[in-house]
């Protein structure tokens, strides 16, 4: 039986998916905010995707993801590479702390698949409380500015990777995240129990953008380098000389 909450969450995701925001003309752009089925702890998926794009390796990725996540649980990751350089990163709540992804623990996967020479695409999918979220495929090419975790796949001597967050590492992550939250009081100013939003995000962000920094104290927006021109009937004169 589908709960009312789940129906509401599905409807919200559908509405946000079709509405689109601001500047993008991507018809399939998915709203980055999603709320869990049983809790109000949100995950900013755009930031999760950006974290994967920038990460230097699995430990850097799990650090970044735990900075993004605003709930009490720590997120473990498991990384599994295949011979064709396909990579699946699984985020999970390691409730029994056994270092493996057990039933009901998985919350997302990030799958990177080669699509051609020097090219691949990536998709993030939510599970469990985040079921219903699926990012658009985003492309990567060998010339892109990316962290080593992705860009290494384009190296000729790439070695497939296997990693899972260990129990000892969870302790380090917890300490790091406590320090991180303490140094970001505007975002994490209020103690919270799992299932409740933190102070900084009790209200919906005014307009979620892809560009806000996750690790810097405060950010001011400048401009966007595109012009809203949809619906016009007269094209501008094109200069050629």
């Amino acid at each position: 039986m589908i709960s009312k909450t789940k129906l509401l969450a599905s409807a919200l995701i559908l509405a946000l998916t079709t509405a689109g925001v601001g500047c993008s003309n991507e018809p399939d752009r998915v709203e980055r905010w999603a709320t869990t089925e049983n809790t109000n702890v949100k995950i900013d998926w755009n930031k999760v995707n950006q974290a994967y794009r920038d990460a230097s390796g699995p430990q850097d990725l799990e650090k970044r993801i735990n900075e993004i996540y605003e709930g009490d649980e720590l997120i473990s990751i498991a990384v599994a590479d295949q011979d064709d350089k396909t990579q699946v990163v699984t985020g999970f709540f390691d409730k029994n702390k056994n270092g493996s992804v057990d039933e009901g623990e998985k919350i997302f996967t990030i799958k990177r698949e080669p699509t051609g020479s020097g090219e691949a695409h990536v998709q993030t999918v939510g599970y469990g409380p985040y079921a219903g979220y699926a990012s658009p495929f985003w492309s990567i090419t060998s010339g892109m500015l990316m962290g080593a975790m992705i860009s290494n796949m384009f190296m000729p001597r790439y070695v497939p990777m296997t990693y899972v967050t260990s129990n000892a590492r969870l302790s380090d992550l917890g300490s790091h995240r406590s320090s991180y939250r303490a140094s970001n009081p505007a975002r994490f100013g209020k103690a919270s129990k799992s299932g409740r939003s933190y102070g900084g995000h009790v209200t919906k962000p005014s307009k979620p953008g892809f560009g806000r920094s996750s690790g810097f104290g405060r950010s001011s927006g400048g401009g966007r380098f595109g012009l809203a021109r949809r619906g016009r009937t007269v094209r501008p004169e094109r200069l050629t000389a």
Partner: protein, 167 residues
């Protein structure tokens, strides 16, 4: 009546006549004020030399930053982007990015890198020959000013990431 005698708004214009000027980088990137979100109506353009600019989480040093715009309704062009310029006293004009850069880059100061602050909604690969690495984005581009304990940094955020095309 000669071309010189035509009113300004009716005169044919060349690419080199565009008022593409040096501007302080904060002005160029619309970072003078404090905004919670980038201004989507911003249409300013020009160029600036900077010691450092961040493209996402990657710092680029000694860069020539070109602030440019494309229109949301610009058609997909394969390997190019249609730029659009709003002009005083006349309607907007467009120029292909490849043509614009070929005309303007030789006139601009040299730097160790060239950064295009330019939306690229169709994720076009730009095959532009430049003497130094060229950085351009896939998807939308926004400018941000980050402030932290260590000071400030100017950052350009790209919706789908940054491409580096080596010289």
């Amino acid at each position: 009546m000669t071309i010189r005698e035509l009113p300004f708004r009716e005169r044919p214009m060349t690419i080199r006549e565009l008022p593409f000027r040096e501007r302080p980088v904060r002005e160029l990137l619309n970072l003078d004020g404090r905004r919670a979100e980038p201004d989507h109506a911003y249409a300013g353009y020009g160029w600036a030399r900077v010691d450092e600019i961040w493209l996402g989480e990657h710092a680029v040093r000694d860069a020539l930053v070109l602030g440019l715009h494309t229109a949301d309704d610009a058609e997909p062009l394969g390997n190019d982007v249609e730029l659009e310029f709003e002009l005083p006293n006349r309607g907007p004009v467009s120029v292909l990015a490849s043509t614009f850069l070929a005309k303007w880059l030789p006139e601009l100061p040299k730097a160790s890198a060239i950064v295009l602050a330019l939306c690229n909604p169709h994720r076009a690969p730009l095959h532009v020959v430049t003497p130094v690495p060229l950085y351009y984005a896939h998807g939308d581009v926004e400018s941000w000013l980050d402030e932290g304990d260590g000071g400030e940094r100017i950052r350009l955020a790209a919706q789908y990431g940054w491409i580096r095309r080596d010289a």
